[in-house]
Structure formats: C-alpha cells, structure tokens
Amino acid sequence: MKTFLPWLLWLWMCAVLVGAFLYAPPAAGFAEGESSRILFFHVPMAWVSLLAFVAAAVWSVRYLYRGRDPRHDRAAAVAVQLGLIFGVLATVTGAIWANVEWGTWWNWDPRQTSILLSMLFYAAYLALRSAIEDPQTRGRLSAVYALLGLVVTPFLFFIVPRITFSLHPDPVVNTQGKIEMESRMQQVLYASTIGFTALFFWVHNLQCRLQALIERQSEAGGSRS
C-alpha cells in the first residue's frame, strides 16, 4: 500500500499537468490567455505554503504541551522548510505571471505582499534553529516562535491590503480572486491543489524520516568513537 501511494500521486500530478495545458481553456480577459495556466500551479503552491505554517504551529503545540517529543519538533521544522520553499516558488511564479500580465514583476498586490512578508517568519524561524545547539532548548524556543508567528501573521493579512490599496489604487484589481472560472478550469485547479497538498505531506514524511535516520546515525557514530 505504501509504495502504491507515491505512484498514485505521480499519476495524479501528470493528469494535472495534462489538464492544465490541454484540458482547461485559456482564461478570457487575460493579456496573454495561455499565461493563465501558471495559476494552476501558483495558487496551490501559495496555499500549501500557508498550510505548512499552520501545520508547523500544530506540531509546535504538540511538542510544547504534549511531552516534548523530538519527532514533533522535527516535523515542525521540516514543515517550515517546505513552507519556505513553496512560498518562494509561489512568489516567483506570481512574479512571472505579473510580468506577463501587467508588464511589471511586482505590483504590490496585497496577497502577494502578505505572503512575502509572512515568509520572513519562516526564514527567521530557521535562523533561530541554527543558532541553538542543545536539541531540547532548540525545540522549545523554535516552537514558541512558530506559535508567536501564527498569532501575529493574521494581522498582516488585514493590514497590508488596506495599505497597498490606498497606495496603489490600481484599476486592475486583484484578479486572483475574481477570475470568472469556467468549470473545467475549476476542476483542474482543485485537482492541482489536492495534488500539491498530497505532495507536501509526502515530501514532509520523507524528509522527517531521512532526518531521523541521519540523527540516529550520527549518534551511533559518536558512541562508537
């Protein structure tokens, strides 16, 4: 069963790729209709990036208040790493698309800005981890910081839109939420989101197991010498 699931995911993502480029029609009202296809990847990646942060916070709570299990700490750290990667990918794909659509790489779109700013948290979390040697202290303090981040980031999502909107009353309103999506496009988008979410959890699982093995090996190596 376990070896079957990754293959299923692979097939699923292939189907998503096919759907994105061949099945879904180009979006109407876009400067370059075909460019809308990037949204099938950009939106799920942004979603996964946020999901990763929430997941990290959940594991952080478990670590702090449910027995300080190192596995929870590891899971939180890996989630943040993946969240950062997906966040960067989402920002880059967003910038590429913005360039095609509006001619500028960055136009202070509220959602883009909020995601970029919240990624500062991810990076800070990883910087904190690298500055602490003792595993117990590291787990404890980074868990606290993850929760602090979870509590503070929603403010960004309220404040930034108001500020960017007032600074740049762009006639081209944030189009991501307001695309009239044909049903085929919706199908591909949902399928892609599911696929990317599954991809996140699969890679997360692999990375956690890999890190556990590395840690165990370095411990064994230490006691032998």
Partner: protein
C-alpha cells in the same frame, strides 16, 4: 486571592526596581539608546532639513523615519534586559526564585519605560528639526503610547528567546522584525494621519488589538521560553 495577587505584584515591582537600580548605576541602556537616537536624528535632519522637504513629502516619509529610528534604537538597547541575565549567569538564581509571569511583567515594565523615555526624547526634537506641525496631537500621543507598548512587549519576548541562543545581536533583529512588522505598519499609518490632522481610522483599533494579542501571547508563551 488578594494576598497572592499582591505578592505577585511585589515580585514584578521588585524585578522592575532591580533592573532600574542596576541601569541607573551603569547607564548602559540609557547611553546606548540616547546615543543611537541622537546620531540617527542628526543624520536624518541634516540630510533632509536643508532640502526643505515639502509638506506632502514630509507627511509621507517622516513618520517612516521616526518609527525606524525607534525600532533600531529598541533593537540596540532593549535585548540587554534578558541577554545580560544569561551572560552574567544571574539567570540561574532568577530561574529558581522568580515566578515567570511576574518576571516577564517586571521586565516588560522596564522596557516600556525605556521606550517611553526614548519617545519623549526623540519625538519633540524630530518634529522641531523637520518643521512639522502636528494636526492631531492627541492622536499622536495615543499612537506613541500604543505603538511604544507593542514595541516593548514584542521586544521583551523576543529578547527572552534569543538570550538562550548564540549570535544575539543580529538574531534579535531577524526574529523581532517579522513580529513587529504589523505594529510598525499601523504606527506609521496612524502617525501620518496624526500629522495630517485626519481622524484615526480602523488602524487604531487594529493597533490596540495587536497590543492585546501580543500581551496575551507573551504571557502564555513566556513560561515555555523561560523554564527548561
């Protein structure tokens, strides 16, 4: 219940008094903050003053500069409240003797008084040097109070976190900036409104909400930061 509460308050007051007694003898934080603030003020006003910044430019840019000065001064002077305890190893005695929530509130009060002193020093000089007339002075005072509180609360908690890590100077800024970013955005926006004489918008409510959120989060999370 009341004897407990007053004992708790005595503890927090003791921490506050101890920090200030130490500070007044060494003047470390006061000197750092004053020097930092003065230097940045001079640079800003000498480079912008003679240019004759127009009023619209001034309203747009100067609030940002004010809050940046406050932010970086805080980063220079506030972390010491916890870092010094760990570095001189007095934290060991403190961990065994103090109630975490009382300790945090005492330290927060100390950092808050430092921030308020800093604001009281900088803001009038800043306004005078930039020839800014404030349209809504009451709003400005409110923003400085609420913004200053958020700055102190966030900085105190982050200081407690990084005190147990390496690379404390740069690490503080890296960790504190994302936490304080909403506060800064709101404070700048409100300062702009205060200078322009506009009524405060929803931003003031959000600022106070942020302050409340940070306080609750800090009180809940600090025991996990402080205790092993």
């Amino acid at each position: 219940m009341w004897p407990q509460a007053s004992a708790w308050a005595t503890e927090a007051a003791a921490v506050f008094a101890k920090d200030w007694r130490s500070e007044l003898r060494t003047r470390y934080a006061l000197n750092t903050l004053a020097l930092f603030a003065f230097t940045t003020l001079v640079v800003v006003s000498v480079s912008l003053g003679p240019l004759g910044v127009s009023e619209s430019q001034g309203t747009a840019v100067l609030p940002v500069l004010l809050w940046l000065i406050l932010l970086f001064a805080a980063a220079a002077g506030l972390p010491r409240s916890f870092v010094h305890e760990e570095e001189t190893q007095t934290a060991i005695a403190l961990r065994l003797a103090a109630t975490p929530s009382a300790l945090f509130c005492g330290k927060l009060a100390y950092c808050l008084t430092l921030v308020i002193a800093l604001e009281a020093l900088i803001t009038p000089v800043f306004l005078a040097m930039m020839n800014l007339s404030v349209g809504a002075p009451l709003l400005l005072v409110l923003v400085l109070a609420a913004g200053g509180y958020g700055l102190a609360a966030g900085s105190t908690l982050v200081a407690a976190i990084i005190a147990q890590a390496r690379g404390k100077g740069t690490l503080f800024s890296v960790l504190a900036f994302p936490v304080l970013l909403p506060l800064l955005l709101l404070a700048v926006e409100l300062t702009r409104q205060a200078i322009g004489g506009d009524p405060a918008g929803v931003a003031l409510t959000q600022l106070i909400l942020y302050d409340a959120t940070i306080t609750v989060a800090a009180l809940m999370l600090f025991p996990a930061v402080w205790n092993p």
